[in-house]
């Protein structure tokens, strides 16, 4: 609590004690029978007036001051009118209670909003406080923004990497949780790139800074999060507009209610009995209750607070959402379009199948890996990597690369031919037809066919379950777009559980497919495009929501997308959808609850069923409940 809030709390306590004294006395002593202007009546008024002024003087003052500035439908003014009105018609306890409870509500709002703001700020607290820069052999602590690209910084264990750069000496493991939401450590050594915002866990690193702080990953993410509240959701704009007309309407309704029925009723008895008009539970009293519920605060605060909390909560999972509007759109998504390579698949090649003939899998792999030792081709690299992984690589002598065909090498004193089917044809070795999608590498030893290895882009382990989750929660139609061969695309689509795929597309073909899907999507739903941010900026822009994956360190992706998944884990996507849907649900609950309760209270008040006490609940109680509900959005799992 701030100093100002503590002071308000103290005033609330004092006023409440005075008010309670009056309330108890009211039940012991019969003030009413003595008449309002008797000594007893004045003591009665004085007690409640004291409580009222202790708690309400600043509201009254603000009301007067704001009227002078032309702010008519100001909540301070409305509360002042309602409470003073109650005092005038003799409802002292209620007049005092309106002010006390209003102040409690305001205080609570202030504390709750401050708390949410701080906890959201903590969630995105990735800002490095200092950098240890090495200048002329001396290490000194400076502000990260004072370090230029090309300088050398030292990152000690436990410190946050302050700037993006390349490791020039040392090795360590980095905790990327603050950026990606993943707790796995990332090993870095000399020559590796490090990204600002990560925490260095154990080793000492010397890093050559690659770009200034203002362009660093941390600065970009912070900017993104800070600007996110500027992109307002449609619901937010609706509430702003609603608030603008709600208060005047309720106030005019109150004025009408205070005058018209009272005048008619009194006219019928020839103005001899005014109690139905200005007396207890009369029309004026009811009209005052209207003023109490005329503030739309519950909505005006809780709606943006829900979105802000949802955006903050999502950032814990490495999901950066650029605005509440995208959260709202994502909640309505039913068409999910994916780029294949790098999004559904790992984007790196790996051995997916080893089919030997006349030897074991490991023997075949060992020979191939040995033969490819000197090749730098990505396909060869993936065979070497798999050989190393299984620990089966043997050594090769005099390997000779036959460009466009493969390799000829001597392994274990035999001649090994490793390459494509054209190599086998050239050497007149019969090869089987392989149906499996992917790149096939054949092998022959001493002129005899020995089997083949299939290399393909692997599907990410989380892809099928992520797509299944989208299906389950959004009834989603999933579409995959790729420039790859049909066979390869089909295999991935089948494994991933994709509904529809379009293969062999040129880059602009992807955009026209997105456009076609956009036209075909069901009404009132949105289309999401998920890509890795490379080469698919037009498709990201064309979709209602563009999501870039694995964006840590990729400026282009952060720039082009509406939602950025910092990690490479596609399972963040259903998480993002879930958070958006729940946040949207919380917003709708609050809108329906707040408007519903207020309208209901006004109806019941108009016919005289409820008292001002219920109206106070309609103002303060509803606001508190709506804010508490909104705060849940921060903790959606």
């Amino acid at each position: 609590m701030s100093k100002k809030q503590k002071k308000t709390l103290l005033r609330i306590i004092i006023a409440a004690v005075v008010w309670l004294t009056g309330f108890v006395l009211e039940h012991i002593i019969d003030f009413d029978s003595a008449g309002r202007f008797s000594v007893m009546g004045i003591i009665h008024l004085a007690i409640f007036a004291a409580a009222y002024l202790i708690i309400g003087w600043d509201i009254l003052w603000k009301a007067i001051r704001n009227i002078a500035h032309g702010q008519v439908f100001d909540e301070n003014f409305l509360m002042s009118i309602a409470s003073i009105g109650a005092m005038i018609i003799g409802e002292y306890a209620e007049g005092g209670a309106v002010m006390i409870l209003y102040q409690i509500g305001e205080l609570f709002q202030g504390v709750a909003v401050g708390k949410s703001r701080r906890s959201i700020a903590e969630m995105v607290d990735i800002n490095p406080e200092f950098a240890n820069v090495e200048r002329d052999g001396v290490v000194s602590e400076v502000d990260p923004s004072d370090v230029a690209a090309g300088e050398t910084i030292v990152v000690r264990p436990g410190e946050r990497v302050p700037l993006d750069g390349t490791v020039i000496s040392g090795s360590s493991e980095l905790n990327t949780a603050a950026l990606t939401g993943e707790s796995a450590l990332r090993a870095v050594a000399e020559g590796d790139e490090v990204i600002s915002g990560c925490i260095n866990t154990n080793g000492l690193l010397k890093v050559k800074v690659s770009r200034p702080y203002s362009d660093s990953t941390v600065a970009r993410i912070l900017e993104l999060v800070e600007n996110s509240t500027e992109n307002k959701a449609k619901t937010e704009n609706f509430i702003t507009k609603f608030a603008r007309i709600y208060t005047p309407i309720v106030v005019f309704a109150a004025i009408a209610l205070a005058i018209i029925p009272g005048v008619i009723q009194s006219a019928m008895n020839g103005f001899t009995d005014l109690s139905g008009w200005i007396g207890e539970d009369g029309w004026v009293y009811r009209a005052l209750s209207f003023l109490v519920v005329s503030c739309p605060c519950a909505l005006v605060i809780s709606v943006p607070l829900s979105y802000f909390g949802g955006i903050g909560g999502a950032s814990r999972y490495g999901i950066m959402i650029k605005g509440a509007n995208f959260m709202e759109e994502l909640a309505k998504a039913q068409t999910f379009v994916f780029d294949k390579t790098g999004t559904l698949t790992k984007g790196s090649f790996a051995v997916t199948e080893v089919v030997p003939e006349g030897m074991t899998e490991n023997e075949l792999l060992g020979i191939c890996a040995a033969a490819e030792t000197y090749s730098t081709h990505p396909i060869a690299q993936s065979i070497i990597a798999e050989g190393k992984k299984r620990g089966v690589t043997t050594t090769a002598a005099d390997a000779e690369e036959i460009a466009g065909y493969g390799v000829k090498a001597t392994v274990n004193n035999s001649t090994a031919l490793v390459g494509n089917h054209r190599l086998m044809e050239r050497e007149n070795i019969p090869t089987p037809t392989v149906e499996t999608p992917g790149t096939v590498v054949h092998c022959a030893i001493d002129g005899k066919y020995a089997g083949y290895i299939v290399i393909s882009d692997e599907i990410k382990p989380g892809t099928p379950s992520a797509l299944a989750a989208l299906k389950k929660h959004c009834n989603a139609k999933t579409v995959m777009l790729t420039g790859d061969r049909r066979a390869a695309a089909e295999a991935v689509a089948k494994q991933a559980g994709i509904d529809e795929f379009h293969a062999e597309l040129l880059p602009d073909g992807k955009v026209s497919q997105v456009e076609a899907l956009y036209e075909a999507k069901p009404e009132n739903t949105t289309l999401v495009f998920v890509g890795d941010g490379m080469n698919d900026a037009p498709a990201l822009a064309r979709a209602d929501v563009g999501i870039a994956m694995g964006a840590m360190g990729s400026d282009a992706a952060i720039e082009a997308a509406d939602i950025v998944l910092m990690n490479d884990n596609i399972e963040s996507l259903p998480t993002a959808v879930r958070i958006s849907k729940k946040t949207h649900a919380i917003v709708m609950q609050n809108i329906i609850f707040a408007i519903g309760v207020k309208v209901l209270i006004m109806l019941l008040t108009a016919v005289g069923i409820t008292s001002m006490w219920v109206a106070i609940f309609g103002d303060v109680g509803v606001a508190i409940i709506a804010i508490l509900n909104a705060m849940r959005s921060m903790r959606i799992k």
Partner: protein, 72 residues
């Protein structure tokens, strides 16, 4: 030019919307936003008149919500 300032003692969300509305209507203002949750005020105006417009905006905010100050 677009600049962001911190707001102190901005207590009511409703007033934030009113402040935003009022500043947007000032002559010369390209865009303005008052962010209640982050307690921030962003003003966008042509470079050559920025200081004058900022002064007008500060006064305007004071009129709408006298309790709230813009930290410059």
């Amino acid at each position: 030019m677009k600049k962001t300032f911190k707001l102190i003692d901005l207590d009511c969300a409703h007033c934030a919307a009113k402040m935003e509305e009022a500043v947007k209507k000032l002559p010369g203002v390209t865009n303005a936003s008052v962010n209640f949750l982050q307690q921030k005020f962003t003003l966008e105006a042509p470079d050559d008149q920025f200081d004058e417009i900022l002064k007008a905006a500060v006064k305007c905010c004071k009129d709408v919500e006298p309790d709230c100050t813009i930290k410059i």
